[in-house]
């Protein structure tokens, strides 16, 4: 990666992010002036009740969606100035994704799914790094299987390996454990955490599960499209308490 990580303290950030869906009377302000940094080498969880704008924030920060107002940066690249092609290339080269479901291309093998972004870029990547990743996610004996031959947890681990394969600046995970049983979920979260702590990667995860959020270094809370709180070193109980506070009408 060519990014000067020594000078840029944040892997991704949004400044005064505003996102409005629709127009006129029916318009909805999904993000209403959110500013948040995702520091390099940190595991950040975004939480909030349904409709709080947490998924929108992630989509805009990752270059999947565009902001109505404000700015989003990956490293020091302003996403607002990029056309669809440049955004695509940026996602391919500098961002990793783990979605809730349907994370893998069914026609490709496990190995091919892992290197998919690199293959799309036409590069080889770093074979040693990928080799190490395969061991970390524990799928060496499944490399030539098709996704349909894997369990949900295994599929999600492949997705995690793919997300890190190109050593992206930041990995965005959207409810990565939403479709998994608790044991598989725990494995996937463990993987994400280890990736951050052992290899100094950056992960931003959207979740509604306090137990999942507890794996993060920091939790940011969103409500009604605004950033309402941040919590360092979260635990499941503390997060749950904070969430309960939202339910009380203020």
């Amino acid at each position: 990666m060519t990014t000067a990580t020594t000078t840029v303290r944040t892997a991704a950030r949004v400044v005064d992010a505003v996102k409005v869906y629709g127009s006129g009377d029916t318009s909805v302000r999904a993000l209403d002036g959110v500013s948040v940094d995702f520091p390099v080498g940190r595991f950040t969880a975004i939480m909030g009740p349904s409709g709080s704008g947490k998924s929108t924030l992630m989509h805009c920060a990752a270059g999947l969606d565009t902001l109505t107002g404000g700015a989003a940066y990956i490293g020091d690249t302003d996403l607002g100035g990029l056309d669809d092609r440049r955004l695509t290339l940026l996602r391919r080269d500098r961002v990793g994704f783990v979605f809730q479901a349907f994370n893998l291309v069914p026609t490709l093998t496990v190995a091919e799914n892992i290197t998919l972004p690199l293959d799309l870029a036409g590069g080889k990547g770093d074979p040693e790094w990928i080799d190490a990743l395969v061991d970390v996610v524990g799928l060496r004996d499944r490399l030539h299987h098709r996704p349909s031959e894997l369990s949900g947890g295994q599929q999600q681990r492949v997705a995690v390996a793919r997300a890190f394969a190109g050593r992206p600046d930041v990995v965005f995970a959207d409810e990565p454990t939403g479709n998994l049983d608790s044991r598989s979920g725990e494995e996937v979260l463990g993987l994400l955490g280890r990736a951050v702590r052992q290899t100094a990667r950056t992960v931003v995860m959207v979740t509604h599960d306090p137990v999942a959020a507890a794996h993060a270094d920091e939790v940011v809370f969103l409500a009604d499209g605004r950033l309402v709180d941040r919590m360092e070193s979260p635990t499941a109980d503390k997060v749950l308490d904070r969430l309960k506070a939202f339910e009380v009408p203020s």
């Binding site: 989509h59 092609r85 979605f99 349907f102 291309v105 799309l120 349909s148």
Partner: protein, 853 residues
């Protein structure tokens, strides 16, 4: 509204796009069919009207009773009648007028020096009949021919040849005659009788150039006086006619003429078009079936939910069928309207390209309404039947399962059945071709081969796509290998999609191979039996052209460069009761310029009562040298000829050869079809050709061709035919491409989320487009390769079967260049079909695609 119907309607409304392809496939097929039928009926009716108008003034026609018809010709040759009969006929009470009608071949040369017409329809010349009611042509401008050299020509011909009143040009009868155009005529109110050209001359000129002797006429046209009916007239005429001459009513004569046009030209024309609309509809069947199969598969969960909620099998099946009926009825109705529109359009277009399509209202018979509608509906419903039944069989449990899209395909039963069918097809075909030559065995084999290809499709598609797509991964990286694997996903679907194209390509290749083989056959014929250096002929096709002046051969023979020049004329006679074409020539010279193979007896002394026959005919008739053969000529005279020679090869020389002396008493208008020339030793080909051309110039400028050129021009008609066939098959290929596009669109709909994921992790829009396009190309490649293989095989079968079933030898030839072009077109078409689905896929909204359910 019934529940099934309500479901179908709402489903149709929600998925209008998916049925666009089906709609178009049915529409195009039905439109083609309806257009053909309407156009055929309209042409037939117009010709009837035109002939009716043109000949309404003729109440009776007097002509020779006997006609000799040779194989392959619908119109017999009749002996002329004595023109003096007119005097006797005019004396018959009730006859208002009678006029001799002399008709022969005469080709006009246009203002630019090129002959007019001759490529199919006849080029006629005759006497201009003074009585306007007896003359089928009416003078429209100028005046009638009054003295020798003056002619009236039909207006259509005048326009085609850029000739005006006052112009002087050449009429090949085949002797070139200088003529001055003094008038323009119309036929039955039209500018001409379709593409037939007509030149009317004075009676003296007509007798001089178009008959063998003065006082002859092809027929005598008679007009009745007031109050005398046609039949009555015929009855009164019959007693005064000599033996061998008959009278028929004007109406009968008109019917004979129109029947001839209907059976000869129109029937072939419409049958030809119907065959191609059949091919188009067959291709459509595959596309439609595929669409419904995919739609039903995609709707498995929906249907399962309905079943779980208590819908019966029949209700689910019915709702799919109702959907199909709605598409079938609207598309067929639209197709019918489109077909009528095509016919109307052609009516306008044909005259614009110089083909006088008779004017008049379109004739839309009940049949041409009902048949296309019925065929369209049956094709559409029939194609949807299996998928509908499958929809009904959906288990309610499927609603709860995460169902994968139809992956079935290559079952063992299918592989075994297909292989069995293929083996049977090959066995039947080979028996038909090699063991007992016939046409129906190979025909059955061809159908079986087609069926086996369709059955084997899914089995073959996996291997084929893997092989064909092999280089893709290396060439196009992950985009290529994704495309390849997408094409491998559902073998059944890929096969069904490709089958449509396969049939189209197979028919194209079949014609390409057959055409090339015909050309090779011609080539072989010429190189085997033509031993001369140049051939002189008039380029003509069908009934057109006027042949060569019989004096030409002698004139060329007189050149110092020329060793031998021999003219081949054509005569007809019945040999042992059957009409035969005779070659009238100088047998001695013939032997020098043609390789006649093994000759028994001698061609040197045929004389006026000797005949030479090919071995094949001699065997058939049980004749050998020294035997007597009975020949009956058009004048009814029977003569006994001695077989003086039996020769081996016949292709260019014909099966029966007699001398000019023997033919002279029976001849009509004299012309040669070919003059074969061989040069003296030491004369270069160029010098010889130039000398011959100089002489030919004075005889109406026929073509002088070297052996190769002659062989090529003999094959010219084949190219024309092939072009037409390709144009017609373009429709079938278009329908097949619509099928590919439709399947891809549906597949993309199915893979929305997968495409969204690919886009999210960094696939650019152009990569995505390329992926879809390559998938399309792969499917097309599979169809094209299959089609080429099937078409080449069927072409071989057709050639071999024709070889076995007919008298002349057929050569088989594979045209590698043309087949490569067919392959390229198939691939390019695949890329084209993928364009729209690819664009649609690239427009996909990433966020919506990856959004969880």
């Amino acid at each position: 509204m019934n529940a099934s119907v309500r479901l179908s309607v709402s489903s149709l409304r929600a998925h209008k796009r998916r049925f666009a392809g089906t709609f178009l496939a049915v529409f195009l097929g039905v439109a083609f069919l309806a257009g053909t039928l309407v156009m055929g009926d309209t042409l037939r009716a117009s010709f009837d009207t035109m002939f009716g108008n043109a000949t309404s003034g003729t109440d009776a026609v007097v002509r020779s009773a006997e006609a000799i018809t040779t194989p392959g010709e619908s119109e017999g040759v009749r002996e002329p009648v004595d023109a003096d009969l007119v005097t006797a006929i005019e004396k018959v009470p009730g006859v208002a007028a009678a006029a001799p009608n002399i008709q022969g071949a005469g080709q006009l040369v246009g203002a630019n020096g090129d002959p007019i017409g001759g490529q199919g329809p006849p080029t006629l010349a005759g006497n201009w009949i003074a009585d306007p009611e007896l003359n089928a042509y009416q003078l429209a401008e100028g005046r009638v021919p009054a003295k020798s050299g003056e002619v009236v020509i039909d207006r259509g011909t005048a326009e085609r040849g850029d000739l005006k009143i006052g112009d002087t040009t050449t009429l090949r009868t085949p002797d070139p005659v200088k003529v001055t155009i003094v008038g323009l005529a119309t036929f039955g109110g039209e500018d001409g009788m379709a593409q037939v050209t007509f030149t009317g001359m004075t009676q003296a000129d007509a007798e001089k150039y178009l008959t063998a002797g003065p006082g002859e006429a092809s027929s005598i046209q008679v007009r009745a006086g007031p109050g005398v009916g046609q039949q009555e007239l015929v009855d009164r005429l019959t007693p005064v006619l000599p033996k061998g001459v008959e009278a028929i009513t004007g109406q009968e004569s008109t019917e004979e003429n129109t029947d001839m046009i209907s059976s000869q030209f129109l029937a072939i024309f419409t049958t030809f078009l119907l065959v191609f609309s059949g091919v188009a509809l067959l291709v459509a069947t595959f596309s439609i079936h595929n669409t419904f199969a995919i739609v039903v598969a995609q709707r498995t969960r929906e249907n399962a939910l309905l079943r779980a909620l208590g819908a019966s099998r029949r209700q689910v099946t019915a709702s799919t069928l109702v959907e199909a009926s709605a598409v079938a009825v609207t598309a067929s109705a639209a197709g019918l309207a489109g077909g009528i529109g095509i016919a109307a359009g052609l009516q306008v277009l044909f005259p614009a390209i110089g083909f006088p399509f008779p004017e008049g209202d379109l004739v839309i018979s009940v049949l041409s309404m009902v048949l296309p509608l019925a065929v369209g509906i049956v094709v559409c419903l029939g194609s949807a039947l299996l998928p509908a039944v499958r929809a009904g069989r959906t288990a309610p449990m499927a609603a709860l399962r995460e169902t994968a899209v139809d992956q079935s395909g290559a079952s063992r039963v299918r592989a075994v059945t297909g292989a069995g069918l293929a083996a049977l097809a090959v066995a039947v075909t080979l028996t038909g071709v090699l063991v007992s030559p016939s046409l129906w065995l190979p025909g059955t084999g061809a159908v079986l081969a087609l069926v086996s290809f369709v059955v084997l499709g899914p089995v073959a598609s996996t291997t084929a796509v893997r092989v064909l797509g092999g280089p893709l991964g290396k060439l196009r990286g992950v985009t290529g290998s994704l495309a390849r694997r997408n094409a491998l996903r559902s073998p059944k679907r890929t096969a069904a999609t490709a089958s449509a194209l396969m049939i189209g390509v197979a028919v194209v290749s079949l014609f390409t191979v057959f055409g090339a083989s015909l050309k090779a056959t011609m080539d072989q014929t010429v190189s085997r039996s033509f031993a001369g250096d140049v051939a002189v002929s008039t380029p003509s096709f069908g009934a057109g052209g006027s042949g060569l002046s019989p004096k030409l051969a002698d004139a060329i023979d007189g050149l110092p460069e020329v060793d031998t020049a021999v003219g081949l004329g054509r005569g007809v006679a019945e040999v042992d009761g059957k009409g035969r074409a005779l070659t009238v020539t100088d047998p001695v010279a013939l032997e020098r310029t043609f390789d006649l193979g093994n000759v028994q007896g001698s061609l040197n002394a045929l004389g006026a009562n000797g005949i030479a026959i090919t071995e094949k005919e001699a065997d058939k008739q049980g004749l050998k040298t020294g035997d007597k053969a009975q020949l009956t000529f058009t004048d009814g005279k029977k003569e006994s000829f001695t077989v003086r020679a039996v020769y081996g090869q016949s292709e260019l020389a014909g099966d029966y050869v007699i001398t000019r002396a023997a033919w002279a008493p029976h001849r009509t208008q004299d012309s040669d079809t070919l003059v074969a020339v061989s040069f003296r030793d030491g004369v270069s080909a160029d010098a010889g050709k130039a000398a011959v051309e100089k002489v030919a110039d004075q005889y109406g400028n026929p073509e002088v061709q070297t052996r190769d050129e002659y062989a090529q021009s003999s094959a010219g008609g084949i190219d024309m035919m092939l072009t037409l066939v390709y144009a017609l098959l373009a429709l079938a290929v278009l329908i097949a491409l619509l099928g590919i596009a439709n399947t891809l669109t549906l597949a993309i709909h199915e893979r929305t989320r997968e495409l969204g994921l690919l886009r999210a992790v960094g696939q650019t829009r152009s990569q995505l487009r390329a992926m879809v396009r390559w998938e399309s190309v792969l499917v097309a490649a599979f169809g094209t390769v299959g089609g080429l293989a099937l078409g080449a095989f069927l072409g071989w079968v057709l050639v071999k079967a024709s070889d076995g079933a007919s008298d002349s030898a057929f050569a088989f030839a594979m045209p590698p260049v043309q087949l490569a072009i067919v392959a390229l077109v198939g691939l390019a078409a695949g890329a084209l079909a993928g364009l729209r689905p690819a664009r649609r896929a690239a427009r996909l909204d990433v966020l919506r695609a990856i959004a969880t359910e």
